[in-house]
Symmetry: C2
Subunit: 328 residues, 2 copies
């Protein structure tokens, strides 16, 4: 009996899910649903059907867990509560400020349908959140630090592409090494936005564009760049494709705290990720939580969940006995 | 309503629990139980009674969770199943090979009494185990690496003290930096015992002892030192007390894995600890899981549990809403 996985949305995340399913022997890909014309969507797994997203509900009995691979801005706020009426669902909703509302909407739908909806799965929110939680519960008297990168920020790359005279661009978020070192040394620094990260931009200008103006427009862009030390490199389209086609990312969650009768002992807990492919790693996390959704629902659990609510053993295909014998 | 904590055994761990309880506003120390004469045990918290361990059961209604602070060799295999008949218990049982038996014994006792017994809590087993589990579930195709140190190994220090001519000693386990770097770079090295850790010994010899003989006896000791590159430093008792009185420890859990349709993308997950006080950090973990034991038992759960079985939210005094709003 394998867990039958459905994918809704065949972009970077959808393709990542397809790869992750291939690595997990207890799962199989049952169907892909798309808002495009299914005839134009070519997937990698042989023999798996591609259906119109509008027809998903008709296939609900063929799917154990539907993984929602849309975006957080407009897709997931609608899709996750809607599909939770019919499916166990997992999403990667990452608009931190709107998580409470999203949780509530999914919870209502999933409680009514008797399904499980796990929201905000991935690495931040997701694994980084888990590490913040564990570290806060252990080191009660302490400070939290999260650094992102080195990695590609899709939002910042998009912002640069909207600058006049820019043909294409890629932006990397880079943690400041001195800030990281200070935190690791338990110095508990108070860090400004500028002291934590720098921003590095690789820009392909349109022919004849005013390079000085582009650089000025990027560096002074409010919210995105004005609070950071930003570097702008002008390169050719060929160089962009050759050197910057990947979607690497990563980061660091660090908690620095004190223990002892008078706080005399210092401790550092650090969790870090170094990822060649942000979407593929995210989907590996999604797939592990899809297994949890399936198993918890089989036990009769229902409603919205986050990574905080799920006992780690649910993520593994191995039995409790095996886990205790080999990983504890 | 605070959670009433009992401590059984007032050594390094017991004292650590006492400090940790002080940091957690939702808890109070209710009693300390000792096998020594209670009149000789002076604790730091005012107004808390010290009782004979033999009388613990008489106080069972005053304690929500009893934390067992004995050793894994002889204390916990007996104590944890015994006290689980009367109390919710948490222990730090760390003899990896005997965990399945210990789990089974505690499970039987706790299921019968309707209590919760959480075993093998701390950092290894404990937080390191959790990180191995999460990382294995995410990066299915990968390799695990655990490095310990730099830190004091009590077992190895004890072994040196048994060598003829040794008055006192402290041993540090040290990860080999080149091995760590290779793992972090995703090179997936196959590492021998010698390639992963070195051992550094600070030895106070007895007057007139044969130093060359001591060094030889340490370096050739099977299991403990013969498979490692070991350094022996002879120092005075004063130097040992001045420079080596702490109990620091730490380590690294790293998983290196591949994703993508053809395994084309590499990823590194790393969790590390840098601890000034091994027992105080361990007890901070124990106290967080004591909260979980209390809450899960209130919900009607019973039996033996490990860190794998416990949803992270149970560790925090904050509500689900607060956690989602602030840490997710």
């Amino acid at each position: 009996m394998t867990i039958k996985i459905g994918i809704l949305g065949y972009g970077n995340l959808g393709r990542g899910i397809e790869c992750a399913v291939k690595q997990n022997d207890d799962m199989e890909l049952a169907a892909v649903f798309t808002r495009r014309d299914p005839a134009t969507v070519k997937i990698q797994t042989e023999g798996v059907p591609v259906y119109k997203a509008d027809d998903a509900v008709a296939h609900k009995d063929e799917i154990d867990v539907l993984i929602l691979c849309g975006g957080s801005a407009t897709d997931l706020p609608v899709q996750t509560p809607e599909y939770a009426k019919y499916f166990n669902v997992v999403d990667s909703f990452d608009t931190h400020a709107n998580i409470p509302t999203h949780f509530s909407n999914v919870d209502t739908a999933a409680k009514e349908s008797g399904k499980i909806g796990i929201i905000s799965v991935g690495w931040d929110p997701g694994m980084f959140s888990l590490n913040r939680l564990y570290a806060n519960c252990i080191l009660v008297d302490g400070s939290d630090y999260t650094f992102w990168g080195k990695g590609v920020s899709q939002g910042h790359s998009d912002a640069i592409r909207r600058v006049k005279g820019v043909k294409n661009a890629k932006q990397y978020t880079v943690p400041v090494p001195e800030a990281l070192e200070s935190v690791r040394n338990g110095e508990n620094p108070e860090l400004t936005t500028r002291q934590k990260h720098t921003r590095e931009c690789f820009v392909v200008p349109e022919e004849g564009a005013d390079l000085a103006q582009i650089e000025h427009d990027i560096k002074t862009m409010p919210n995105y760049f004005s609070d950071y030390d930003t570097t702008v490199h002008f390169i050719t389209e060929e160089e962009l494709i050759r050197d910057h086609s990947g979607i690497p990312h990563g980061g660091f969650v660090i908690r620095s705290g004190k223990t002892g009768w008078n706080g005399e002992n210092k401790h550092i807990i650090e969790y870090s990720l170094k990822l060649d492919s942000n979407p593929e790693f995210t989907t590996c996390v999604l797939i592990a939580y899809a297994r949890a959704a399936y198993r918890m629902n089989k036990e009769g659990q229902r409603g919205a969940k986050t990574v905080f609510d799920i006992a780690p053993a649910y993520l593994s295909p191995r039995s409790g006995e095996e886990l205790r014998a080999h990983l504890l």
